[in-house]
Symmetry: C2
Subunit: 321 residues, 2 copies
């Protein structure tokens, strides 16, 4: 499976242990520059996670490596390290759950290297299982829309579909303001040999009306067993339009939440909209709004793909049954 992944999603290119510390690939510089941030201890790892050196599934891998080196060099700091890492990205409840669980079992006498290895392996297997399901949802000739950076399960689904001879195209919205689509998704798809096209964020309906888009697939920042999905702003627009145009929508979630409490949607600084790289794109006096996530009702979701199967939503244009 690992060899089907685009390079930036391989473990060693997310975060690796060397020179007594943790190296983290700086995704903020991609695709223009490939560089790593070196963290001599868990403290620098916490800062790097806060500063968005890596994102998505990246912080979990950094945290696992940070916990491992701390257990080997400063075991007395382990409790403190786990707490600080957990708080580095409060909405990343997966990272917190995994490293807190490891700490408990380590305290009970288990071997840290084995524990960390088990978590890595569990996620690898989950991505493999989810992308088998994802692949089964893709048909020969599909035009697939995604949004933001959909990571492992999506990339593997596309790679497996191509390996199985399915001819597909992928439409990638640039995903303003941080441009994860342009910076991460498009280069990854191109690397694995997929036919892919960068579009602006509001071209979704255009390419649905033209018939070019026939399937919508995303990751999710949070998903529930009732098929409610929380994902990057813009996903709601795509999802409602998908149902309108008779297009199925599936979201991947490695850890769907059993409860159905909709979180308060985080707003980031509107100022973030007003610059692209070093270029100002709006007047300094302009007010801007930046809600980070959309909450998508199960009415607009065909299903949430998880490692064991699919939680079904109410977008009736589904493909899984």
């Amino acid at each position: 499976m690992e060899n089907l992944l685009p390079s930036i999603l391989r473990h060693e290119n997310i975060s690796r242990i060397a020179d007594g510390g943790v190296y983290i690939t700086d995704r903020r510089a991609l695709p223009f520059e490939k560089k790593e941030v070196f963290c001599p201890s868990w403290r620098e790892c916490v800062s790097a996670i806060k500063e968005m050196v890596t994102q998505g599934g990246g912080p979990l891998e950094v945290a696992l490596n940070a916990v491992l080196i701390t257990s080997e060099t400063h075991p007395d700091e382990l409790e403190h390290a786990v707490r600080a890492l957990s708080e580095a990205r409060p909405t990343n409840t997966t990272m917190k759950r995994e490293i807190t669980g490891i700490l408990k079992r380590y305290r009970a006498g288990e071997d840290m290297k084995t524990l960390v290895g088990e978590v890595f392996l569990r996620y690898d297997r989950a991505y493999d299982a989810m992308s088998d399901i994802g692949e089964s949802l893709i048909r020969d000739g599909d035009g697939i829309l995604t949004r933001c950076f959909p990571e492992h399960s999506f990339m593997l689904s596309v790679a497996k579909a191509m390996k199985n001879g399915k001819r597909i195209r992928v439409y990638v919205p640039e995903t303003r303001p941080y441009l994860q689509g342009a910076h991460l998704t498009e280069p990854c798809l191109r690397e694995i040999g997929a036919e892919c096209y960068l579009i602006t964020d509001a071209m979704n309906a255009h390419f649905m009306q033209s018939g070019d888009i026939s399937l919508y697939l995303t990751a999710s920042d949070l998903a529930f067993s009732n098929a409610l999905v929380v994902n990057k702003t813009g996903t709601l627009s795509d999802a409602i339009l998908s149902r309108h145009f008779g297009i199925p929508y599936y979201a991947f979630s490695v850890n769907p939440s059993p409860d159905d409490e909709i979180p308060v949607i985080e707003y980031r600084e509107g100022e973030d909209l007003k610059h692209v790289g070093g270029c100002a794109i709006a007047a300094s006096e302009a007010k801007a709004l930046y809600p980070c996530f959309d909450v998508i009702s199960p009415d607009f979701v065909s299903g949430v793909v998880h490692p064991e199967g699919i939680y079904e939503g109410n977008n009736r244009w589904n493909r899984h049954r």
Copy 2:
């Protein structure tokens, strides 16, 4: 009416005759720099129109001024000038129709200065009439979504609504790739004192679901008497979502077309998506797509506002009856 307009939409700030030639405000530099391009003759006016120094209703005003100075200094070149100006922006059929009409009447002996003055006055009156209708569609408390740069009728509708004591907010998508929302619309609205917020292009559904947006108003690149609208890519997404969320959508059109032949949608260079100002936002190898316009079925339009009234569409959440 003129004094309700934001400054960049006043005649003298679009194009003016001075020093024996035509000055054109360079909208490409806004809002960061206020500068004019000087055109000594109609030839430089043609180039400036081609190079997008001005856009929207701007080329018509430039063409009228170019025709006027040519009639005064090189009347022998007038036929040639009208043809070249008409061809500078082939989809701007309004500009072609107006200057061709003027040429005919000038040849028949009418005074050019009077003819040009009449056209300016006719458009001023049309914008005034359309914005009276636009104002009547706005309710106290409205959150208005627009897209791209909706120009005179929209700005005047908002200004008149505020003058009548209606409290409103406007949501302005930045409108990638050329950023007309961030560069032109937001500064104009701020100048006339409107509460306005810049958002990214795919936040439309987000602020409809939250209840913040209650009305959608745009200009149109082309509109028909059957209420079919052609406008900037992204308008289709907004329009379908408007109907879904029970929000009325009206488009302004100073010259709705009586026929209903849908034009072939022009594609611009995908490369245009890959830079913002001087900053590259995508890998040089990335392929990008740039369809310029959306075709919006009357099913998603409440009405096309024209100088004499409203052509009714099928979005049933209308407000005009």
